[in-house]
Symmetry: C2
Subunit: 221 residues, 2 copies
């Protein structure tokens, strides 16, 4: 594979909806890699509390402050609040790379299953709501348990990075690779994000059957 | 992972729509593994011609003969002919394990993308058309190029096996493992097959970007 990706070591990273496990886990790993990281929440107090819970230096602030200050913004909100959260952040997110890692899933007695999304995927919904941002889909399949575990030094998996802007996907591929063990691989255009989000339901089934924290590797790349 | 899968070495395998590259490639690998293999086509002549093209011993016959004679039947027809082909084979396929590996994809200048399927996926359509068969979804991501290449002895990837009948998915997992290098892993219920089929579009994007024959490995299993 090509390793000709940009140097992203100086980028600050904001995480909107950063008080959930996925957001906190990504915040932790990017802070460990040396990035300035801002965790966002609707409430500054909750964001600050989440930041204090981590074993690394990250700042907590309101989502709008995080969206305005960070160079790259990761969206890690629950699917239920996805559209409304992004609509409220359209202005501060304009011109920025917005990384959507949201999986629209339902759960019942038989496990997880994908929810229908009118726009095709959470990432496409984000792009529709944020026409002046460069939306990239990534980090759907990284286990929050592993991200948060201080005993886990390397996370051996590939992060699939999808988007329609080459510079933006290159940047996010390089960011993924800041986590030891992770490769960031281009995974297609935004119109092919829906099945990547939905694939998380399969990983949940696999985790249940094999008592694992399953991830993906792409072979022959 | 559990290795407690059934012994499938005596099962004969039929491939409906076996004259395409995916069907021929799977036929070749199962014949190499010692299975009796029947390649099917609407025309017995075309099936026999496809069988003769291979470097292994397989038989060609009409789809209906293949469906009636084989223990396990793999469906490898183009998406366009999927529903009609299966409707015509409902009786001979009754009571059998039917393995669907069909990917409903469209192609345009920007590459491949998933087609909408009323039933949710090709596999769910198959189950709707074949209520008396045990439909399993598998073998979506195995490169036909690799399957057919006599220089490739091992294919290092995981075949995700989806279905609602445990004995049937166990059988197909064991069949997948008959190809050297391949693991057959349970990947969820049939309602989660759509994203596995659609994921083939992402693999096509990955192949294009990285000049690869990409496949999947599941980590931590």
């Amino acid at each position: 594979m090509s390793t000709d990706l940009p140097d992203v070591s100086a980028l600050s990273i904001g995480i909107v909806g950063g008080t959930g496990d996925q957001g906190k886990g990504l915040a932790r790993r990017f802070a460990l890699a040396g990035h300035t990281v801002l965790i966002g929440s609707r409430s500054a107090e909750r964001a600050e509390a989440a930041a204090r819970e981590l074993d690394v230096e990250v700042r907590g602030a309101e989502n709008a402050v995080v969206a305005a200050e960070a160079d790259v913004v990761i969206v890690a909100v629950p699917w239920e609040g996805h559209k409304a959260t992004l609509e409220a952040l359209r202005e501060p997110l304009a011109g920025k790379i917005v990384v959507d890692c949201v999986n629209p899933l339902g759960f019942d007695a038989k496990g997880a299953y994908p929810l229908p999304v009118a726009e095709g995927s959470a990432a496409q919904q984000a792009q529709a709501v944020l026409p002046d941002s460069k939306v990239v889909a990534a980090f759907h399949h990284v286990s929050a348990v592993l991200l948060l575990d201080p005993k886990v030094e390397r996370i051996e998996l590939d992060v699939l990075v999808l988007g329609d802007d080459r510079a933006a996907t290159d940047t996010v591929q390089a960011l993924a690779a800041r986590i030891p063990g992770v490769r960031g691989l281009y995974g297609g255009r935004l119109r092919n994000a829906g099945q990547i989000e939905a694939f998380t339901a399969n990983l949940i089934s696999i985790n249940r059957r094999y008592k694992a924290h399953a991830g993906l590797r792409i072979t022959d790349v």
